[in-house]
Symmetry: C2
Subunit: 354 residues, 2 copies
């Protein structure tokens, strides 16, 4: 019996991707070899890496616009320091919208001055700050597009004259944006793209090479670009599985196709949170994330009953993060609408039984 | 038809590991969830991480001796810089035995003075230098236990009064050593342990915290130790598969058990290289690697015939690295003795047909 998996990440991927990646471990491309035992320099894997890079740029509509796509290791947490290592000469501007922004700020401070242009910490990050000013002399502005823990999402990105850097770990490939507004996008794979263990980095080449410090090879975007993401052994399986997911997105009609489904799921979910008198949403209405819906029971006494009903319905992973409490329904690209319907029905059932 | 896979890395893993990891992608631990979609904070995965760390220390006989085992991302290439970031205050000593040592030296130079205590570059790294002196005031000595590309392996490690750091990427868990001689051991998983995408770091805690520089969180061993290798989302699947391989080694009688088989395979392989008048070995006899046998055809005109015979016998991955040419038979733990017998028979068949 498959579960309805609302896990915040690592999280659900398309069922077809699970099937294909499972098969490739036994016999990859009819080669008689496992995807786990082939050389990363083999023709078969080079083709996987190329297709993954191509699909990433194609889906983001960034082909032939001076961008490169890299599949690196280390997670977005490594990008917190790599972004600063590669771009921060004197001062950088950071928008603080939650735990991950705060961590990015902490790492950047080792490399230069950090100006926090705005923060929503005053309300436990339940909203996205607006109308802040951005220092024109900053080396870049860093923001986090979607805040998994708090369930908020930036709907309108600032227009800036400095490079725009964005951590899109939890909403990449989930909605259409003008991605050419960004100069550096990074995203840990384990939400909308693949297994934990690789991070997509999409970088506009002309912003690089401008800091005076020496950068260790593995932390240098230009080194990875120079070797087409094969400077060292890449995480072969994670890249392969990400490529399968990107193919799936393409088949679904690209980002526009999955966005439509994501909007339907979010409407269903937030509709019930707002309708059901037993629940209340956590995030400010206008900043609600399409990926992660955070909500609480108004009456904590119903906790056990709600969680029992959810368990019986095969629902997994709806506990909220400890910094918010309550519940969080993560509705990444691969989560079927049916799973949201099941959760909504459980919420309705609770209302009947309470 | 399965191949005889002599690939230098990523490389063969036990067939039972392929089978179990393939199944876990469809249904992990009968949870109804894929190993790729579970939270790294779930009880099931926490148990995997603990077992992997425990097995690593247990197999190396380093439990209760002040060591910690970490499963990090980035490959040994990231350890080249992390070792220096965490340990190099003024000067470090490096033994240069090949491409990977040279790369480690290059990264360390960004952090302090590097004294190359010896190098075998004069003979294209076909031997291991001996009888060199080690500066007593160095922060540590770094060496590479096995040189995949050149087919050499350190048999006797220097006795030192400074911390001993060793890149064991290509021979970890393949032979018994007094691992307590080492203070920091690191090994990319993709040879004897698991899929590309995780690196085992075994570190003696008392050598840490002695440099004055500030270390970014993701590059700080103490940060990872403090969070039991879960500071950020670990590469779940790569850690799980590595754990399966470590279980397999344990079942084979631990390192002593696999060493016995490795010795038999190496004896068979080098026996044929030395016996067969058509071939010659590349590495110095006393420094030959038990993992990677490098050899050449004396007569290049036999190249096509040899490679055709190998192909017909379903042999994969014996082409030598471009810096050496010729052939390389990598005989990692999981390679069956039967595969070496097949290759030896092909070499004999060439002698008959030539």
């Amino acid at each position: 019996m498959k579960k309805h998996n609302f896990s915040a990440g690592p999280c659900i991927l398309p069922q077809s991707v699970f099937k294909e990646s499972s098969e490739a471990i036994l016999n990859f491309n009819h080669s008689g070899l496992s995807i786990l035992e082939i050389s990363h320099r083999s023709k078969d894997f080079m083709a996987v890496m190329e297709e993954a890079q191509h699909l990433a740029l194609d889906l983001l509509r960034l082909e032939d616009k001076g961008y490169k796509a890299l599949f690196l290791q280390g997670g977005a947490s490594t990008q917190f320091l790599m972004a600063a290592y590669n771009l921060l000469e004197k001062k950088a501007a950071y928008l603080n919208t939650g735990t991950w922004s705060s961590k990015a700020i902490k790492e950047a401070k080792l490399f230069g001055e950090v100006e926090e242009v705005a923060s929503s910490k005053d309300k436990n990050f339940n909203y996205i700050p607006k109308n802040y000013s951005i220092p024109a002399d900053a080396d870049y502005l860093h923001c986090t597009s979607n805040n998994t823990i708090f369930g908020t999402q930036i709907k309108e990105f600032p227009t800036v004259n400095i490079p725009l850097v964005c951590d899109m770990s939890s909403d990449i490939f989930s909605r259409e944006l003008d991605f050419s507004k960004f100069d550096l996008i990074y995203a840990g794979a384990q939400k909308n793209m693949g297994p934990a263990g690789t991070t997509l980095v999409v970088v506009k080449e002309d912003i690089l090479g401008k800091v005076s410090r020496q950068i260790p090879s593995m932390l240098d975007y230009q080194v990875h670009i120079g070797k087409d993401s094969m400077f060292n052994t890449p995480p072969v399986f994670a890249v392969y599985t990400s490529m399968l997911t990107l193919r799936w997105i393409k088949q679904k009609g690209g980002i526009a196709g999955v966005q439509k489904l994501n909007e339907e799921k979010a409407a269903l979910m937030y509709g019930e949170i707002d309708r059901n008198p037993l629940f209340e949403g956590f995030a400010a209405l206008e900043d609600r994330s399409m990926m992660n819906a955070t909500f609480n029971l108004k009456d904590e006494k119903l906790k056990d009953l709600f969680e029992d009903l959810a368990k019986v319905a095969h629902i997994n992973g709806i506990n909220g993060h400890r910094s918010v409490g309550g519940y969080r329904a993560s509705m990444y690209n691969a989560l079927p609408k049916e799973s949201v319907e099941v959760l909504v029905n459980v919420m309705k059932e609770l209302e009947t039984q309470a």
